[in-house]
Homo-oligomer: 364 residues x 2
């Protein structure tokens, strides 16, 4: 197979993102780290570990490796799970020289990353993303967090990994619902920064849907590169990185309101992007024709553009605890045409309610 | 009153430590911060807030200030308390522009600091230490943490404050047992870096014990300056900062084994310093005469130099989860004469047991 492509995040601390690397080669990479690793904790889901741990272990034979299994589900991103991981890690004798490998998707990356960021005030982390969502988006940029009953990702940190190690082969067996989660973020990347990449999603739909490896490789690489470029400019989310939240204020509200059941993250983001697009249209930032193009692309990948039986006022209320809010004002990211986005500090509650109305189906 | 003395911590991010500042003037300082503060959360104990909140509010009239009261006790440095603070903060509408003021001693500084470090991935913090321990030591250097049932300060972060605001007047009414906690750290500072300051504790005992304000001011300023110097050189505890842990590996083991009851932090550190001194003597780093001088000084301030009815093997076991350990080896800080200390990576379990034996009284 071809050599991995290396792109570098140049934030506070530089770190590499390896695209198209092999799980089997990670051990060699860890051996080459300047500050010696004495022990490894792999944090993963059972299903994921069953699929990939053996390949990973090929290169890790020299190390003491302990596996910590986390049940599947967004609800595992909790302080309670953090506490259990801590108990287990202490039991394994993990210390400041221990390296954490987050082997999995977004939940594992966030949870294992937050664990690594606070265990003994911070130990090293390598992200090994095995889902499309994690490969194109969540494994890059150092954001880690757990949820709180009152809001998503409320407790967290910026904990840049030592490296991101992306093996495309883990995507082969990914269920379509997981693919959707990644596509939603990937289309979002295109929508906020790159109209040409947005067209790619319009023209390559067939190839993407039948998982053409060449097209997938291009899609992951382009999307990951956008993420790398944005977080390199603004790791701490003071400026441009905020644009990556397009669709997420609406989406998180929906996920929280529905208690993370019946709506995936990608579906929430997809509906959120459409709501944000309608709000942008009301503000004259985007034409109705462009809103329609956005809906079209999302639909084309089976991503939802509306939801039924939701109370817009309850959803608005959920947006009160959004981390971007400042001094009680809601800050939203809105698309400006296709390939651009802006931070809008002037979103009135009525406008947000109108946007929600436009994505909520009336059941008759 | 005289103007506060300003010393600067020059670590990753520079921040000032104001010694001899007035609680009433903090508001003016906050107004002068370049990045506007929109809301303030004061985290404190009820007793401390009753004493000092009014003075603090003198300068904070322009801000929305919410008070979050934490019950007294080391056991409040927990994930559970962190979760409750988060619920309350969300209820108060705290966002990324909110500033946390930690008003209290070491427990409040650690807990409020850890909360500030993870709430919405980190918000600003001002340490307002009201105990001797916090003023000479724990408020400076950015270390924050909560405990885990299996070990002290296991989950934490480096979260440097915007500023440390020290009002000496809060020490006037401090109970002696609290003074002891600070003296133990202060004497430790002298022991590891400054033999002249160590002599100060020998010669000024009377003045210190009757709380002579001039001598206390000198003691706090010298001790805080040592801490500032050390953390400026090594914020992340890769080198010299580790020396500040002298007495703490033993002390934490004792505190954890006794479940934080019947032994204060200062008492644990005091006994820990003596145990470390005996171990240093066994290694030829310090004379028995010097060990005796150390015991003498501690005793002179009513700090214990031994403890009864403890199982040295259980205490040794507790040291297994010490954060300084590497690859299963115990790393201890040992005094080298008076005014110097070293990191020892060659401490065998038998030597540590011997040291414990020397500070454990046999009851007959």
């Amino acid at each position: 197979m071809s050599l991995p492509e290396k792109i570098e995040v140049s934030a506070d601390r530089k770190y590499p993102v390896y695209l198209g690397a092999a799980l089997e080669d990670l051990g060699g990479y860890i051996h080459s780290l300047p500050d010696k690793v004495e022990q490894i904790l792999v944090i993963s889901h059972k299903k994921v570990a069953d699929l990939y741990l053996e390949r990973l272990m090929t290169g890790l034979g020299d190390y003491t490796v302990d596996l910590m299994i986390v049940p599947a589900g967004e609800e595992e991103k909790s302080l309670d799970r953090l506490s259990r991981l801590t108990t287990d890690a202490l039991g394994f004798g993990a210390d400041r020289k221990t390296l954490v490998i987050a082997l999995g998707g977004g939940v594992i990356g966030d949870l294992a990353g937050f664990f690594a960021s606070v265990y003994m005030r911070g130990i090293r982390l390598i992200q090994v993303p095995t889902t499309l969502l994690a490969q194109v988006d969540s494994s890059i940029g150092g954001k880690v967090a757990v949820n709180h009953p009152a809001g998503k990702n409320i407790l967290g940190a910026f904990h840049p990994p030592v490296a991101v190690w992306t093996d495309f082969r883990t995507l082969d067996s990914l269920p379509w619902i997981e693919v959707e989660n990644g596509l939603a973020e990937s289309i979002k990347h295109a929508l906020i920064t790159d109209s040409d990449f947005f067209s790619f999603f319009e023209t390559q739909a067939d190839s993407i849907k039948r998982r053409d490896p060449v097209i997938w490789r291009e899609m992951v690489a382009r999307s990951a590169s956008i993420k790398v470029r944005v977080v390199s400019q603004d790791e701490r989310e003071q400026g441009i990185r905020r644009l990556l939240n397009l669709g997420h204020s609406f989406g998180h509200a929906l996920e929280t309101e529905m208690n993370y059941r019946g709506v995936t993250h990608g579906q929430g983001v997809s509906i959120g992007i459409v709501a944000a697009a309608f709000l942008a249209n009301a503000k004259g930032l985007i034409t109705l024709n462009e809103v329609e193009r956005i809906k079209q692309v999302l639909r084309c990948y089976d991503l939802p553009t509306s939801i039924s039986r939701q109370d817009p006022h309850a959803l608005l209320q959920r947006m009160e605890t959004d981390k971007k809010n400042q001094g009680g004002r809601k800050i939203l990211i809105l698309p400006q045409g296709i390939g651009n986005a802006v931070v809008s500090k002037e979103c009135k509650d009525e406008e947000i309610l109108d946007a929600w109305q436009k994505v909520i189906l009336e059941d008759n």
